[in-house]
């Protein structure tokens, strides 16, 4: 278990990061040019890290799947980014942001990492403003804030409903500056299919050029994965179509432990599923819960009539509406954390109070807000979200309440990393949604953007440098050695094997079937029986995939079906580990809700005695079960309590 050293620096929590930086190793400017770094991903973490490492003088190569770094999935984030600026003077502080994040994560995150996140959050806002990110402002010219779930203060900075876009474009602009300068080399439409290890250290990657179909080798002194989350295991999610867990999964199979794979976030406010052909789910930002009120009909008869289209929501009298979040959680009301809000929606729908033609939806109503603030104010705050909703659903949310339902949104689990964000493979760093580090069992809204930019701008440029300091005498890597050759051969064999199947079922069809197994058994409510069933079904589905999948087209040139097949093959393995992790965690915490472990009121019931740890899984071979390692979590600065959002 020596491998699971979290390397948390000694000292009081508020001084750890400062101490670390004061004592870490640095690389002198002339030597930086001798060191190569590979950054995979151009989202917030990849874009920000690649730009910052380039500025420092390292030789950076950066890779992404899309045709431009500006299109990474971070672009889709809507609501905002947290920081402990306390500009509204409402009592915020670094400690409070730290506290809220640990509590929101249901006490399953590593204290020191979260504290550092809260500590650098303020630098992020400064940096972005200096880059020309047009955050929302007040008439006085200063920055505006809004509230997000799980907090009693307003600490969320935003750029209309397009915060992720603006932050990503900021990172993209910094990256473009470095590309122009020549310190960063850009490789678009490339997908990393494996990690190359030399003498146990990460020294390169095997990449498929998505346009030519060729495999390429790239070597470096260190590799950073900023490849995002694996929510698409579920087929339907709010993630982009190419979002995938492939690179992190390949790292796992090369020896990087994978932490808390079952910790998945289900977002309460998404547009409900409308048909079998559906390809993705659309998020309606959490910021809407600032002004929208969530309700279902009190009477089942009303709900049934609505489902049949015989009654309209606007026809239901005030006293016949159940504002169930306000009723159950008076202190936080509609702004309870996501896991709590999602489960409450499911509970009401399962009890027969759901609306929409499927009965799997609840209302998010702006009538009161429009009355109180006027339509103009609501339009200024959420105009683009309302428009998005109307285009998809063909209903006008200014006149009738929105319908929403929970959907897979974010993965808290990810590659296990230490305080330096280094995995158990030396030289392999992992940041952003791809690692597990900051959000425990549930992420608070507006904290993923914070983590992405914190990791990318302010953490990795330091910690990677600490690692690289003793690498300056290692010459630039040639990629014709045996390790590169062997790894490339293995990737080629995987591709050949897929073509060789010549089956009769499409990749999407397998993906959809996996998604059903996952959603039904490894989704919002899990139990032993379902998880065991899921593991068996996934194993069978995987076997079937390798006998029946159909991948048309050629190995050379562009082949979208092959790309998807490679990703789904990985999802079919990852899904099983997620179920196994959920099965071994005999408690409920955050997004992980085991039906066997709940309070009388239906709230998540943690087992702190046995489960205050990170579950880190080690790959033992395709036919061997993964091995569980535990990183104990120690809380020295926060009292571990039952989460309570009923009273303040």
């Amino acid at each position: 278990m020596a491998k699971l050293d979290s390397k948390v620096p000694k000292g009081p929590i508020a001084e750890k990061w400062t101490n670390y930086k004061a004592h870490q190793n640095l690389v002198n400017p002339a030597n930086k040019r001798k060191v190569d770094v590979i950054v995979v991903g151009t989202g917030l973490v990849g874009g920000a890290a690649a730009a910052s490492l380039g500025e420092l003088g390292f030789n950076v190569k950066v890779f992404c799947i899309q045709d431009s770094p500006r299109r990474a999935h971070s672009i889709a984030a809507q609501g905002g980014i947290n920081a402990a600026k306390n500009y509204p003077n409402d009592g915020d502080s670094v400690y409070r942001l730290f506290y809220d994040t640990v509590k929101g994560g249901d006490y399953r995150a590593r204290e020191a990492n979260v504290y550092r996140l809260a500590e650098v959050s303020n630098n992020i806002i400064d940096q972005c403003v200096a880059q020309g990110v047009p955050f929302a402002r007040e008439y006085g010219g200063l920055l505006d804030n809004r509230s997000f779930g799980g907090a009693l203060v307003s600490r969320t900075f935003y750029a209309r409903g397009q915060t992720g876009q603006q932050l990503l474009l900021g990172a993209y602009s910094a990256l473009s500056k470095e590309i122009k300068k020549g310190s960063v080399e850009l490789f678009t439409r490339r997908e990393v299919l494996d990690i190359v290890k030399i003498d146990g250290k990460a020294r390169g990657i095997i990449v498929r050029n998505l346009v030519t179909g060729e495999l390429e080798r790239h070597g470096a002194h260190a590799v950073l994965l900023g490849t995002g989350g694996y929510g698409n295991v579920f087929f339907l999610s709010t993630n982009a179509m190419t979002s995938n867990g492939g690179a992190a999964w390949r790292a796992y199979k090369r020896g990087a432990y994978f932490a808390n794979p079952s910790f998945v976030q289900i977002h309460p406010t998404c547009i409900p599923v409308h048909g079998a052909y559906q390809s993705k789910l659309t998020l309606m930002s959490e910021s809407l819960r600032n002004d929208g009120r969530i309700w279902v009909p009190k009477k089942k008869e009303d709900a049934q009539k609505i489902q049949k289209g015989e009654l309209k929501p606007t026809e239901i009298a005030e006293e016949d509406r159940d504002y169930y979040l306000e009723r159950r959680y008076p202190a936080f009301g509609n702004l309870v954390p996501r896991d709590v809000a999602s489960r409450a929606a499911k509970e009401r729908c399962d009890a027969g109070h759901g609306v929409g033609n499927t009965g799997l939806a609840v209302y998010l109503d702006f009538e009161d807000a429009i009355k109180r603030l006027g339509r103009n104010v609501i339009e200024a705050r959420y105009g683009n979200l309302f428009q998005m909703y109307e285009k998809i659903v063909d209903e006008n949310p200014y006149g009738t309440p929105m319908m929403i339902y929970p959907a897979i949104h974010y993965t808290m689990g990810g590659t296990w990393v230490d305080y330096e964000l280094q995995s158990t493979i030396p030289g392999l760093f992992v940041g952003g949604e791809a690692n597990f580090s900051d959000h425990g069992a549930n992420r608070l809204g507006a904290s993923a953007l914070m983590q992405g930019l914190s990791d990318g701008y302010f953490v990795l440029p330091y910690t990677m440098q600490n690692y690289l300091a003793d690498q300056i005498t290692v010459p630039h890597f040639k990629t014709d050695g045996t390790e590169f050759e062997q790894t490339e051969k293995e990737v080629q064999a995987r591709i050949d094997k897929l073509f060789a199947v010549k089956g009769d079922e499409t990749v999407d069809s397998f993906h959809r079937r996996l998604g059903h197994i996952m959603w039904d058994n490894v989704g919002m409510a899990r139990n032993k029986e379902g998880l065991e069933k899921a593991i068996k079904e996934i194993q069978e589905l995987r076997k079937e995939f390798w006998q029946r999948v159909k991948v048309p087209g050629e190995k050379t040139g562009m082949n979208v079906e092959l790309e998807k097949a490679l990703r789904v093959a990985d999802f079919l393995e990852q899904g099983e580990l997620m179920a196994l992790d959920a099965l071994t965690r005999n408690e409920s915490s955050g997004g992980h809700f085991r039906l066997e472990y709940q309070t009388e009121e239906g709230e998540a019931l943690r087992d702190d005695k046995n489960f205050t740890h990170v579950s880190a899984w080690e790959y033992m071979g395709d036919d061997e079960p993964a091995k569980l390692h535990k990183e104990p979590l120690v809380y020295e600065n926060i009292e571990v309590k039952q989460r309570n959002y009923k009273t303040a």
Binding site: A130, G141, G275, Y277, M558, V560
Partner: protein, 246 residues
């Protein structure tokens, strides 16, 4: 609904393309346009044919990846949306739908409906940024910015870089795209410092790549999914003029 699709198929960048007809049946009016394309592709794959290649990713109108030219319109018949936000309820049963890639010299076809838009990245690399490094910046509230200017900067900054403006323009002009970036920075104190250098080098690269001139037809504004205004072009022209005389 049933539709007849006429889709541009092209094996690769150098090769000749042609329209191929595909019927699709039983498409729900609530399906999105790209879901309709998925259904077609699944049918093609099931028959052992190669699916139609098209770009897409977020499927919610923000990444700027999707790029179809539908019945003569970039992003199709609906207004203020991207192709991925277009829904089949905008089409009639039995209709013929013609689907082409963006057509503009600076955006060569990669395959079928996919084009190479890296020219946009080249333009941004020429100056679409504030030349500061990470760290050492002032507090975010040190420089107040007029709300009106911040809002206008945000309007301009909402460009998703999809290239519909270029595809719509008979001159394949990139003026709306470039001016949106120039305007965002021109409106903010942080961007003012490098204004002259920025506009000159971005315009120079734009011209070099072979984007055409703007002849004020405003086709770009009409098709822009983010409704970026042509007033940005006027602002950029002013910036450019000032840069030249100063």
């Amino acid at each position: 609904m049933d539709l007849k699709l006429k889709i541009w198929r092209q094996q690769g960048p150098g090769t000749k393309g042609k329209f191929v007809e595909y019927p699709v049946k039983n498409i729900s009016a609530d399906a999105s346009f790209l879901e309709m394309m998925d259904i077609l592709n699944e049918e093609l794959v099931a028959k052992g044919e190669e699916p139609v290649a098209f770009d897409h990713d977020c499927r919610e109108g923000i990444c700027g990846m999707c790029s179809l030219y539908i019945n003569g319109n970039p992003h199709g018949p609906d207004s203020a949306i991207t192709t991925c936000q277009l829904h089949m309820r905008k089409f009639k049963d039995g209709e013929t739908v013609v689907i082409e890639p963006w057509r503009a010299k600076p955006f060569p076809v990669i395959k079928d409906l996919m084009v190479d838009r890296s020219a946009f990245d080249d333009i941004i690399q020429a100056g679409g940024y504030v030349s500061i490094n990470t760290g050492g910046v002032p507090d975010a509230n040190d420089i107040p910015i007029k709300k009106e200017n911040a809002d206008l900067a945000m309007d301009a900054a909402s460009c998703i870089g999809c290239g519909a403006c270029v595809a719509a323009c008979k001159n394949a002009s990139a003026m709306l795209f470039v001016s949106a970036k120039v305007s965002q920075f021109a409106l903010l104190p942080q961007g003012k410092i490098e204004a002259k250098r920025r506009v000159e080098s971005m315009v120079a690269v734009m011209d070099d790549i072979g984007f055409g001139n703007c002849t004020n037809t405003y086709a770009c504004e009409a098709v822009c999914p983010k409704e970026i205004s042509v007033t940005n072009i006027a602002r950029m022209n002013r910036e450019f003029f000032v840069a030249k005389v100063s």
